[in-house]
């Protein structure tokens, strides 16, 4: 059973990896942002499978945090992307 779960985790990781590199190479910032969301979903799924395979309960806590921070990190992109468009040369930044 553990082998089947590990194989499933491996398959999910491989699929996520292929998709991740495809999305990361995209020219659109919003699409690159989705790469991290993809990693959050795929990584959490793989962690849950690995946790069941090895019987370690802590893996699900790690998956929980991964899901939370994948959602959170998309905020960072929103912030970084909004600044230059809104104000290309912010006057208060210049001393």
């Amino acid at each position: 059973m553990a082998d089947v779960l590990t194989a499933a985790a491996l398959f999910i990781l491989a699929a996520t990896a292929v998709a991740l590199f495809r999305v990361l190479r995209s020219g659109v910032v919003a699409e690159r942002m989705m790469a991290v969301q993809l990693l959050g979903t795929g990584g959490a799924a793989a962690l849950l499978l690995l946790g069941s395979a090895s019987g370690s309960a802590a893996a699900s806590d790690v998956a929980l945090l991964l899901a939370l921070f994948a959602a959170f990190s998309c905020v960072a992109f929103v912030i970084g992307a909004a600044e230059p468009e809104a104000e290309p040369d912010p006057p208060e930044e210049r001393p």
Binding site: D3, L24, D61, L65, F72, V75, I79, E83, A86
Partner: protein, 310 residues
């Protein structure tokens, strides 16, 4: 099968690391670096170090990302007149980094096998502390002095950041809100923090008996607070606000107080009275969680940018 999985994970990490380095745009590199931090969490789980995995995900996916992206937004367009780095310069940096990596790799490979370990001793004394998580026992009982100094260093770092504020806005509030707050950000800042706060409190509480603890919990809470501040739902507090100062210093102060009381009621400085170790450790952890959360959020928010409201 697990070997195949580990090899795939290593290959993926290496490929992602190379991708980060060869990216031309800073923003793309930072985004890929964020993904790298999250993926590194998986590697730590495979190495049976869930405590490290939690920290790596919280720091790599939370604080570092915002810090780097904000720094990039400030620096963008500043060095345009300067010449780009020459090929020789890039080569020198590449050789230097490769040498450090190779040296680290050699050092790790030359470790004695089996490695000298204190793990059995740490597990044996676990009963005396009443804790279930040996990592927490190391952090707050066996090596509590290191943890105490570490928390004070965080405060010193914050003082360093705050001292960069200009005279006119001294004691004022930092500015983290972008010029225009996008609608989805406001939405996320309303939806995510309730979940995040529950997860943060859970991380703190579970830390006594399972992987988790103050630092992970503090990072989660700091990220949620930053989210609320960035969306402009609640502006950052003035750096001189008594409540903020209390939250920042409360943890280390309680830790120090209990440490000194240890030399009266127990065997010495930083010793816990028998039977009371676990409640005291949980109390210290609770106060430290708030301190770490406040300190990390304020570190990312940066020095004061607005005059104090008085």
């Amino acid at each position: 099968m697990t070997l195949l999985l580990d090899l795939a994970l290593v290959a993926w990490l290496l490929a992602l690391a190379v991708h980060v380095v060869v990216q031309r745009g800073e923003r793309s590199a930072i985004i890929a670096f964020l993904a790298f931090g999250l993926l590194l969490g998986l590697a730590w789980v495979r190495l049976a170090a869930p405590d490290v995995a939690l920290t790596e995900i919280a720091i790599g996916g939370g604080g570092t990302g915002i810090l780097l992206l904000r720094a990039e937004a400030v620096l963008r367009g500043r060095g345009k007149e300067e010449e780009p780095m020459t090929r020789a310069g890039k080569l020198a940096v590449a050789v230097g980094c490769a040498a450090i990596s190779a040296g680290l790799g050699l050092a790790v490979l030359s470790f004695a096998s089996p490695a000298p370990t204190l793990a059995p001793a740490a597990a044996e004394a676990l009963g005396a502390t009443g804790l279930g998580n040996p990592v927490t026992a190391v952090l707050l009982a066996y090596r509590a002095l290191d943890t105490l100094l570490e928390k004070i260093v965080v405060l010193l770092a914050l003082i360093g950041v705050w001292s960069l504020a200009p005279d006119g806005v001294w004691d004022g509030a930092p500015e983290v809100k972008p010029a225009i707050v996008p609608g989805p950000l406001t939405y996320l800042a309303r939806i995510l923090p309730p979940f995040g706060i529950v997860i943060g409190v859970y991380m703190f509480w579970v830390g006594a008996d399972a992987p988790g603890g103050t630092f992970q919990a503090g990072t989660v809470l700091a990220a949620m607070w930053l989210l609320v501040m960035m969306a402009g739902l609640k502006p950052p507090p003035d750096t001189s606000r008594p409540l903020l100062v209390l939250a920042l210093t409360g943890g280390p102060a309680l830790f120090l107080a209990i440490a000194f009381l240890g030399s009266i009621f127990a065997e010495g400085f930083l010793a816990y009275p028998e039977g009371l170790a676990k409640p005291l450790i949980v109390a210290i952890e609770a106060a430290l969680t708030l301190s770490v959360a406040a300190a990390l959020a304020m570190l990312v928010a940066g020095p004061a940018r607005k005059a104090p409201a008085r």
